[in-house]
Amino acid sequence: MNRFEREVSQRFEEVARVVSHRRIINNEFMLVVHAPNVAQYAIPGQFLEVLTGDSYTPLLRRPFSIFSADQETGTISIVYLARGSFTSGLARLNIGDNLSIIGPLGRGYRWHSTYPLHHILVAGGIGAPPLHFLAQTICRADAEQPMVVINGARTEELLVGIQEFSDLSLEVKLVTDDGSAGRKGLVIDELRELLNETRTNTPRVYACGPMPMLRAVAELTVSRGVDCQVSVETPMPCGIGICMGCTIGVNDFHDKENGRTALACTEGPVFDASAVIWPK
């Protein structure tokens, strides 16, 4: 297989009907749509490209990580913060409205293992949704697998998925820059302590959040020899591999020496932390 061959999962362009849409807190919303094909195939870490409205503003789709997928009801949920013109438009959708989605897109997290693992999920702000889907999926597959979630944000009201993570009966560690909820500090501090603790199983870290956070997580885990996957944040105008706008530098088997430019939408958004060349 060469690197131009498509190796992502089956994708669908679907007209999705809104089945539930609610404000979680402040400007944080959960949108649930009926999209049976996407729900059938989605795995944690994958995303949707969403288009709303019928004008040319916004012109392009926007990517949203999948928060959860329910194969039985054929529904997909996303959690978003209404803070720009696109997401404010999204916030106006009512039950029964239609929106166009393409998904599931990209490569998700790999979490299966032949040996026991201690799963550590590190979420920064609006990076939480794909990790919620991952936590939910691991729980459903094997509730006994040890797992901890570090959920951080600048301040309490920017923490995403507090209730939903706790509904999964997981160990959740909240961290805020200003100390308004949980520990005051950065998620990387919490992660460092956790890795210092002796736990029975081999740790594996999964992270999603702003690039500086991911970089810190990557540097820490790589230096400790801990397996870590990061879901990177880049602008993603098409999400399907044609606009070439979502580039990220990687060092991988295609070019270990010099690195190369990968498209986050088709080769990611989840990458091995050790493969990413972090932007300056």
């Binding site: 131009f4 498509r6 288009l51 044609i242």
Partner: protein, 310 residues
């Protein structure tokens, strides 16, 4: 009326009214699961250069109301790897393949064309005259004309397949460039190239140019009126088939371009939003044409086309 296949000298026949603009089905088979392959009129590849290019390392895209700014810097694997790794995958779509090319000197134009001459999977070549910086730097007429003449002559020397010339988006020179291209042996004209444009980024009270001094390129429905005029100018200056693009989003947009003189429609930005749009548009355009009395869609053309010599 109905669309009738457009036969272009050199071997390319386009049997459906709408094709993909350069790059809009991506490299390889990246869209295979999202488009119905049977209905593509033709595929134009992303631009290929002699050597591999990494492309721009900074910001590559920005959205405006009804428009998309981009500056990818032509990332591509170079001609050798294109032939080995990409072309076989594109061939699986079963649509005629038009390879977009860019070079900065006669030797490279010839070498690119020669590399494609014997490939049975390649139906035609498209010379992208805005691909590399030297073509962007000037709207000075002789320079642009010289660049075009060099490209067309060098390709023509090395390859007998259909040669499409994609014009720079420059209305002052469109007619002259069309005539030059035709004189030098081009087989079709492509209009609707994205426009040069800038985008400002603010960090606090500090502005910076998102795409540097060179600027980016601008496409999407915002440029449709500008592209429509270029199609009209090209149709008025050349006897060659006109493949027109630039901001086409709806079947009515496509019909507008037929009225301006286009023989074939190319869509670009729309493919980013709706990858299967080419197929949908092909059906919708056919449906609109069917409701208009007459036989051939070319009767819609309002532009007086010059008569072919001889």
């Amino acid at each position: 009326m109905k669309f009738s296949p457009v036969t272009i000298r050199g071997g390319l026949t386009i049997t459906r009214p709408v094709i993909s603009a350069a790059g809009c089905v991506g490299w390889g088979d990246v869209l295979r699961d999202l488009i119905s392959p049977t209905a593509l009129g033709a595929i134009v590849t992303p631009t290929v250069t002699i050597s591999e290019r990494i492309g721009s390392t900074g910001s590559r895209t920005a959205e405006t109301p009804a428009g998309l700014l981009y500056n990818t810097g032509l990332p591509n694997p170079g001609m050798t790897r294109f032939l080995d790794e990409v072309l076989p995958l594109l061939a699986q779509y079963g649509a005629p393949i038009i390879v977009s090319l860019a070079a900065s000197n006669p030797q490279d134009w010839s070498a690119l064309a020669a590399a494609l001459e014997d490939s049975p999977d390649v139906a035609a070549l498209e010379a992208n005259l805005c691909g590399l910086p030297q073509a962007n730097g000037s709207t000075d007429s002789p320079t642009l004309q010289e660049y075009l003449v060099t490209a067309v002559r060098s390709i023509r020397r090395a390859c007998s397949k259909s040669l499409l010339v994609k014009l720079p988006p420059d209305h002052f020179n469109t007619a002259d460039l069309c005539r030059k291209a035709e004189l030098e042996g081009a087989d079709a004209i492509v209009t609707g190239q994205s426009l040069r444009a800038a985008s400002m980024r603010w960090s606090g009270d500090q502005p910076s140019l998102r795409f540097g001094e060179e600027g980016g390129r601008y496409s999407g429905p915002a440029i449709k009126p500008i592209s429509l005029l270029q199609a009209q100018l090209a149709a008025g200056a050349s006897t060659l088939p006109i493949i027109a693009g630039g901001g086409i989003m709806t079947p009515q947009d496509a019909i507008d371009f037929f009225a301006a003189g286009a023989d074939v429609i190319a869509v670009g930005t729309l493919c980013l939003v709706s990858p299967n749009a080419i197929n949908t548009l092909n059906d919708e355009v056919a449906a609109i044409l069917q409701k208009i009395p007459g036989d051939d869609f070319r009767a819609l053309c309002l532009t007086k086309r010059p008569r072919a010599a001889g």
